[in-house]
C-alpha cells in the first residue's frame, strides 16, 4: 500500500496521491504511517535530484503535493509527530539581496527532509541572523544570494556570527548562482553550493540526522 503513495508522488500524480492519502485515512490507517511514506517519497525525490534524474520542476511540484498531503494529515497528527526533527537550520537571503527563489527551494527540501527550518526571509540583516542563532541554536546556518553584492554580505554575516561568539556553535553554508569556492574562502563559510542538493548534503553532514 505504501508504495502506491510513493509511486504517485514520484510520478507527480497530485490527484492520485491525495486520493491514496484519503483512502488510507478512511480505511483507519494511522496518519503517522501515511506521513512517513510521503516523507520517504520526498527523500527519494531529493536523492533523484542529487543524481540529476529530476530537476527543480519536480522538487517544486513534489513540494506542492506534500503541502496538500500535510494539510490533509495535520488535523489528525499529534504535536509529538510534528516535533520529530533531524536538526535545526536557519536560512535567509543575505542583506542587500531580495531574491528568494533558490532559498525557497532549499527551505522546501530541508523541511520535507525533516529539518526544523527557520526561514528569515530576504534582505536579512546580520543582527537578525545573530539573534536567530542565539534563539534557535541551529546546527546549520544557510546564507543565500544571487547578486555579486552578496559576497560581502555573506562575509559580513559570517563575521557577525563570529563577533557574537557563536561561530563555533554553527556550521555555515553559502549558496546561490554566483557562489563558488572563491566566495566561500572570502566569506569564511564552511561550505558552498549552487543548488538544494548541496544544501541537503551539508545539512545531513553537519547535523546528527544522518544522510539526507
Amino acid at each position: 500500500m505504501s508504495n502506491e503513495l510513493a509511486d504517485a508522488i514520484l510520478a507527480m500524480d497530485e490527484d492520485g496521491a491525495l486520493k491514496i492519502v484519503k483512502d488510507r485515512l478512511d480505511a483507519g490507517e494511522a496518519p503517522e504511517a501515511v506521513l512517513d511514506d510521503a516523507r520517504s517519497a520526498m527523500t527519494t525525490l531529493g536523492d533523484r535530484f542529487a543524481c540529476e534524474e529530476v530537476f527543480i520542476p519536480e522538487l517544486i511540484m513534489g513540494g506542492e503535493i506534500m503541502k496538500g498531503i500535510a494539510a490533509e494529515l495535520k488535523p489528525r497528527l499529534t504535536a509529538d509527530d510534528a516535533a520529530e526533527k533531524r536538526g535545526t537550520v536557519v536560512v535567509g537571503t543575505v542583506h542587500g539581496d531580495i531574491h528568494d527563489i533558490g532559498k525557497d527551494v532549499v527551505v522546501m527540501m530541508l523541511e520535507v527532509s525533516g529539518y526544523d527550518v527557520h526561514d528569515l526571509g530576504i534582505d536579512v540583516p546580520v543582527e537578525t541572523f545573530v539573534a536567530a542563532v542565539k534563539e534557535k541554536s541551529p546546527a546549520v546556518v544557510a546564507l543565500s544570494g544571487l547578486l555579486t553584492l552578496a559576497f560581502d554580505s555573506m562575509k559580513d554575516t559570517v563575521e557577525g556570527i563570529a563577533a557574537a561568539g557563536l561561530r563555533d556553535q554553527v556550521k555555515i553554508m553559502i549558496g546561490g548562482s554566483p557562489v563558488d569556492q572563491q566566495v566561500c574562502a572570502y566569506s569564511g563559510a564552511d561550505g558552498w553550493g549552487r543548488d538544494a542538493t548541496a544544501a541537503l548534503a551539508f545539512a545531513a553532514e553537519w547535523t546528527t540526522g544522518g544522510a539526507a
Binding site: 527543480i56 517544486i60 542587500g96 531580495i98 554566483p178 563558488d180
Partner: protein, 417 residues
C-alpha cells in the same frame, strides 16, 4: 601609425563579426556585454545618483570604457529608476526608491497572471493586460482594474470626447496620465543620454553592442507573468495552457527584435535567457517547453540578417547538445557558467565563446588570478581565436578596479594571435 577612430571602429566591428563567423581574428578582444553600476561605484558615485541622472551615468560609462580598455561601448544594463517611479512599479525595486542608495535594482517575481486566468489572457491578451496585469505591476494603472471601458475603437467615434468623458474623468485617471507623462519625460531623457553616449563612443571608435532585445517565450511567461513556481506547476497541472502562452509570445518577441534592428539599421540582438539552464528542467521538459520557441527566435534573427546574442545565464553545459545543432558561425553565445572544455568539444565549430570569467574572481580575487583565468580561456580557444573576453553578465558591480585592468593586461599579453 595610430589608427583613426573610423579605422578603430571598423577594426573592432570586423573583429567581433569575424569571431562570430568563426574566422580567426588578429587578436582576442575585451568586449563587456553591459555594465550596471560598476562605472559609478569606482567613481565614488551612488547607484541612486546615477539612477536620477542618466547623463551622469553615461558619462561615467564612457570614462570606464576608456580607462579599462574595453573595445566597444558596453550597453546600459539598468532600467531607469525615475521611469519606474513614475509608473509606481511594483515589479521592480530600485536604489533611491525603497532600496538603499547603493543597492542595485532588483526584480520582484510574482504570478502576475494567475493559474486560473490563463484562458482569459489567451482570449484577449491586450484587454487582459490593461484590466488585470498593468494594475498589478504598476500603481498608476490601478484605475484600469475597475473602470469598465468601452472598446478602444470608440475613440474613432467623433462623439467619443463626450462618450468617453465618464471613463476618463474617473478617480485616478488624471494621476495615471500624469504618471505616464512623467514616464515619457524620463524615457526621453534616458534615450537622449543613451543616444549621446553611443554616438560619442562611435565617433571615438567604439561600436555599440546591440539595439534589438528579445526574450525567449518561456522566459517571458515564467519570469514576467507566471513566476518560476507558477510556470513549473503549469508543466504538470496545465501543460497545454503553458504551451499556448509560449506559442502566443513567440511572434511578438521576434517582431520586437526585427522592428528595433530595422528602425536603427543595426544587426545585433541581445537575448537574455534564464529558465532553460541546467537544473531548471529536464532534457525532456527543455525539448517540450523551452527549445522550440527559443530556436524559433534564433532562426528568425538569422533569417533576417541579425546576429542573435543569447546570454546563457546559469549553467547551460547540459544543453550543449542542443546548441550544437544551431547553424555554424551565426550566433554570438555569451556564457555565464559553463564547462569550457565541453563547450569547445561540442560547440567549438558552431559558435564563438564569450564571457564566463567568474564574478567571484573579479570581485574578490587578485589580478594574477584574473590573468590566469583569461590565459586559460585563450589557451583553450586560441587555436581558432573564436573567443571574446567578458565576465558572466558584463562587468560585475563589485569588481575590484585592478582586476578589470587585469582583464585588459591579459588580452594584451596572451591574446595577440
Amino acid at each position: 601609425m595610430t589608427p583613426t577612430p573610423e579605422e578603430l571602429y571598423a577594426q573592432r566591428e570586423q573583429r567581433f563579426n569575424d569571431i562570430v563567423a568563426l574566422k580567426k581574428p588578429d587578436k582576442i578582444p575585451l568586449m563587456p556585454l553591459m555594465m550596471h553600476y560598476f562605472p559609478n561605484k569606482i567613481a565614488g558615485v551612488s547607484n541612486a545618483a546615477v539612477e536620477a541622472d542618466h547623463f551622469l551615468r553615461t558619462k561615467l560609462m564612457k570614462e570606464a570604457t576608456l580607462k579599462f580598455g574595453f573595445e566597444w561601448a558596453a550597453a546600459v544594463g539598468v532600467p531607469p529608476a525615475k521611469s519606474c517611479e513614475a509608473l509606481q512599479l511594483k515589479q521592480m525595486r530600485w536604489p533611491g526608491g525603497d532600496l538603499p542608495d547603493d543597492a542595485p535594482f532588483q526584480w520582484v517575481e510574482d504570478e502576475y497572471i494567475r493559474a486560473d486566468e490563463v484562458d482569459q489572457f489567451l482570449a484577449d491578451p491586450n484587454g487582459f493586460a490593461m484590466r488585470t496585469i498593468l494594475p498589478r505591476v504598476a500603481g498608476i494603472f490601478q484605475p484600469l482594474s475597475f473602470i469598465q471601458f468601452p472598446p478602444m475603437y470608440w475613440l474613432a467615434n467623433a462623439y467619443s470626447t463626450i462618450l468617453l468623458a465618464p471613463f476618463l474623468s474617473a478617480p485616478g485617471m488624471k494621476e495615471m496620465f500624469e504618471g505616464m507623462a512623467a514616464f515619457c519625460e524620463d524615457a526621453q531623457n534616458f534615450m537622449a543620454a543613451e543616444g549621446g553616449y553611443f554616438g560619442e563612443m562611435a565617433a571615438m571608435g567604439y561600436p555599440r553592442p546591440f539595439v534589438g532585445v528579445g526574450f525567449p517565450a518561456f522566459d517571458l511567461v515564467s519570469d514576467y507573468f507566471r513566476s518560476l513556481r507558477g510556470s513549473t506547476l503549469d508543466m504538470f497541472r496545465q501543460p497545454d495552457k503553458l504551451l499556448a502562452m509560449i506559442d502566443a509570445m513567440v511572434p511578438p518577441s521576434i517582431n520586437l527584435i526585427i522592428g528595433a534592428c530595422k528602425a536603427t539599421n543595426t544587426t545585433r540582438a541581445f537575448i537574455p535567457m534564464h529558465r532553460g539552464a541546467g537544473g531548471f528542467m529536464s532534457d525532456e521538459q527543455f525539448e517540450k517547453f523551452y527549445w522550440p520557441s527559443f530556436s524559433a527566435l534564433i532562426y528568425a534573427c538569422i533569417e533576417n540578417g541579425i546576429t542573435p546574442m543569447p546570454l546563457f545565464e546559469g549553467d547551460y553545459t547540459p544543453r550543449l547538445k542542443y546548441l550544437a545543432t544551431l547553424p555554424p558561425g551565426k550566433v554570438a553565445a555569451h556564457m555565464d557558467k559553463i564547462d569550457r572544455k565541453k563547450f569547445k568539444e561540442m560547440c567549438g565549430d558552431v559558435m564563438c565563446f564569450w564571457g564566463n570569467v567568474p564574478p567571484s574572481l573579479l570581485a574578490t580575487g587578485t589580478p594574477q588570478q584574473v590573468k590566469d583565468d583569461v590565459k586559460e580561456l585563450i589557451d583553450l580557444f586560441g587555436d581558432t581565436g573564436t573567443l571574446i573576453i567578458d565576465s558572466t553578465v558584463g562587468i560585475p558591480d563589485e569588481s575590484r578596479p585592478e582586476n578589470i585592468l587585469a582583464l585588459k593586461e591579459a588580452v594584451d599579453e596572451y591574446g595577440v594571435l
